[in-house]
Symmetry: C2
Subunit: 104 residues, 2 copies
DNA sequence: GTGATACATAAGTTGATTCTTATGTGTTTT
DNA sequence: AAAACACATAAGAATCAACTTATGTATCAC
C-alpha cells in the first residue's frame, strides 16, 4: 500500500477496468471477471494486486467475496498529482467547476 | 500519449523521480541522470517513454536537450481520478483549500 | 455425505520491461 | 581537423509481470 505499489497496480488496463466496475458498487470475483477473456485465477491475482496496493477491500459473504473500492486508496495519487498542479492550469478550472457543483 | 501509456510510464519509480526533478524546472539528460545508478542509455530510454506518454517535451540547445514537463500531460490522469472522486471525500477538502489559496 | 460453486494459491511458461555494452550522430572545444 | 561531450539507437541479457493449468479450502444445494 505504498506509492510504488499503487502506480504499478494502476498500470494494468485490466485492473483499471476492474476498478471502474467497482466504482458502480460492490462486486464479487465472478462479476469482476465478466467480459474479460482471462482465467479465474488471473482475476484472483489482479484482485490481490489491487488489494496489496490498498485500492480495494472486501467482505466475505457465504462462499463469495464482495469487493469494493477502498475510499482512501487513491489518496496517494491525488497527493502526488497535486505536486504537479502548476502544470495543469486548465484542468484546475474543471475541478473548480466540479467542486462548485458538489457544494450544491 | 494514450491513457494506458501514461499509467505505464508512471509505474516506474525512476521515471517518477525524473518527473519530480523536472517539476522544479528544465533539466538536460545528464542532470536527470544525477544520483541515479543507471547508465546514460537507460536514462535516454526512460526519457523516450515519458515523451511517448506525452508527459514531457524538449528543446534542443546546442548539443544538449532541455526537457520539461508538458503542461497538459497529466490531464488524463486528473480526468481519470475525478471519476473516483466519490471515494476520496477527505482529499476533496484539501483540494478545496488548495484552490482557495491559489485564488489569492 | 456428495457434488457443485466461489475463490485462492502453487508452479511453470511466455512476453514485456529494464538494463547493459557497443556504436552512431551532431555540436563544441582546442 | 581531432578530441571531447551530449545524447540517441541497436542488440542482447536479465528481471519482472501476467498468464496458464492444476490443485486446495470453504460454503452451499441436494
Amino acid at each position: 500500500m505504498t506509492e510504488p505499489d499503487i502506480f504499478r497496480a494502476l498500470a494494468d488496463p485490466t485492473r483499471r477496468q476492474m476498478l471502474e466496475r467497482l466504482s458502480a458498487g460492490e462486486r464479487n470475483a465472478t462479476e469482476l471477471r465478466e467480459g474479460l477473456a482471462i482465467s479465474q485465477p488471473a482475476v484472483s491475482q489482479h484482485i490481490a494486486v489491487l488489494r496489496g496496493a490498498g485500492l480495494i477491500e472486501e467482505r466475505k459473504t457465504g462462499r463469495q467475496m464482495l469487493y469494493r473500492i477502498r475510499p482512501d486508496g487513491l489518496a496517494p495519487v491525488v497527493d502526488w498529482l497535486t505536486r504537479y498542479r502548476a502544470f495543469w492550469p486548465e484542468r484546475i478550472d474543471r475541478l473548480k467547476t466540479l467542486l462548485k457543483e458538489m457544494d450544491q
